[in-house]
Symmetry: C2
Subunit: 420 residues, 2 copies
Amino acid sequence: MSEADEFVRVARRAGEAAAGLAPLPRAAKDAALHRIADALVAAAPEIVEANAADVARARENGTSEYMIDRLSLSEGRIAAIADAVRKVAALPDPVGESVRGSVLPNGLELRQVRVPLGVVGMIYEGRPNVTVDAAALCLKSGNAALLRGSSSAHDSNTALVRVMQRALAETEVPADAVQLVPGTSRESVKHLMRARGLVDVLIPRGGASLINSVVEESMVPVIETGVGNCAVYVDAAADVDMAVEILLNAKTQRPSVCNAAETFLVHADVADAFVPRALGALRKAGVTVHGDDRIRSYAGGDGVVEATEDDWHAEYLSLDIAARVVDSLDDAVAHIREYGSGHTEAIVTTSQPAAKRFVALVDSAAVMVNASTRFTDGEEFGFGAEIGISTQKLHARGPMGLPELTSTKYVVTGEGHLRG
Amino acid sequence: MSEADEFVRVARRAGEAAAGLAPLPRAAKDAALHRIADALVAAAPEIVEANAADVARARENGTSEYMIDRLSLSEGRIAAIADAVRKVAALPDPVGESVRGSVLPNGLELRQVRVPLGVVGMIYEGRPNVTVDAAALCLKSGNAALLRGSSSAHDSNTALVRVMQRALAETEVPADAVQLVPGTSRESVKHLMRARGLVDVLIPRGGASLINSVVEESMVPVIETGVGNCAVYVDAAADVDMAVEILLNAKTQRPSVCNAAETFLVHADVADAFVPRALGALRKAGVTVHGDDRIRSYAGGDGVVEATEDDWHAEYLSLDIAARVVDSLDDAVAHIREYGSGHTEAIVTTSQPAAKRFVALVDSAAVMVNASTRFTDGEEFGFGAEIGISTQKLHARGPMGLPELTSTKYVVTGEGHLRG
């Protein structure tokens, strides 16, 4: 059988599994999740062995230690993954929730209720824990998961899915509700992107180039996640101490993630008070500042790199930050509109009108007032778990929890109602 | 300037207008809508004259009288279009609505609020009233509208947009918030479909081939609307009188629309009682039934056409209906899953368990219990207006009112909160 035919077979089985899974009550889904968690712990040696093959191949290929660390599984890490599955089981079931309801003037009863999306396709990079996280979130929300992880983690993902399917076989949830996309070639990703009618939504998680290629090529509806060129704007009315702390936290607390700050913009009126302190604190934290001329004038030619157009666009994911002095809040907003990725922006200000205007004009998934950009996160927002952070405006925007993995259905009940 | 460059210029102006429109209060938007309504009425002669050119061209091209009727504008029809705009002004403003809010354990205040989508692209067929309806719904929800109607209505659409822009020029809403896509070629539609980053969502309204081509080619997120292969299932426990009435209403009350029934499925246990009466009533109403062998056995070889595979898939939009006897509710669900378009299905039954099972298993935007499929409609659902009926699962499903033309933004307010 060709890889394309094999893909269609797998996707159809996922669709059938989704149909069987959709009407299951919460208890059945939670029991299946607990079974998966137990099975992962019990099968940890088998999973670690498969993972060792991936890690060995990665080392042969000269993969960086950072990437190898993301790829590596130990019995301890598998226990943590299993705990995360149990946590998902403990979350409320979004399916069946009434989101709208009324009795129409003609007596028809109208209810809009949450239902699963159906088959959720995930494309992601070399972190095998995503295989289990995504499967757990999909199952809990009544969806089948069709997973396409990095080929670098293929052995690990195969083992994880085998263990999960074995566990599901002993539950009411169909085992086909969790499957890997067959094959490891680039072509196999394309099968997923062209599977309109077989896959209900595609969620790419990874770098900008992965996400762009999926958005451009997919015929299946896509939820874009992850690219974060986040800015901290220090307003004329900022508390300078607070501004330095927020900037430092936003940039350095975990520089490799999408909600880390990549740019700061400072109002000219507060630049004298703020910039020297900020540059000192950032230098101490090992951060390279890429500044415009006005920022550089505070550095005495020392320690601040000249910013280019590329810097304003950059999602560094490293200890680098772009910096610019602006003449007004509206200039800060204009910079963000031009260069931002619509993920998270923060304003530091004691001025209520300034905060209100920034919130109104900045068109990003999350806008922080006097808080670090690092808070844009499903866990931090209290969602219990997240499948990604959407930077598009359709369907879901910002951290996506279980409700964002559902659609809705209108249920209309009459007594022989006819339209006149 | 090339058409592609001209498109980018227009789309950028729409984006700037959207940014100006987004923070406007309801009063400013409603005032603009009333100004548009008045201007349409005042300019009715100018619009009718432009429309006459479209109509004359359509007649030369041998367009059907039905299509010419959809295309034609009179002063009376323009007055009705203006009234619809005033009705949109009277609807609640979805922008700014809090859809979620809480204080997090660390004291951060979290609010999720509705915001406009930005620039909404519409692709639609030869009904010039859609130009105004879509513009009004977009403006009310704070969005700029980038409109691409049928080239057959180009003169009408140009006049309507000119009148609307003239009206907007005297209001706080930027006139560029309503624009036509430049050009009438097929290529000009492609500019819209490739305008990722310039257009936030594309809503095609029209036949299946238009919608399919947009879904397959668009890099801009799409909301599919409109295709309706709707089924009425007559359960073993149906009230036969009610079933005949609902079927007749669903098929014949307005056969040309997407929520009209295109198939009926009848449980074998009730077929003897139901089918002869249904066939008689449908024949009397001028409906051609395309039945399977079991349906045809009731017709005595008279008046029922043999159904082919194509009939099960058909969205007739005419006085035709496909019909099949099924042995169980689950067989009816299986038929719908195989052939339905996910728009609206109805069950007629007095059995509560049967109704519950049908509602749970049928995966359509709307499921009717003892009511006609014709009720799936924004007006009927009490939304005041609709921009289309979504048959996809992402973002919006079923009739789309003003809230479905919005996204959301998280606003997080702290007091110097840092992530630990």
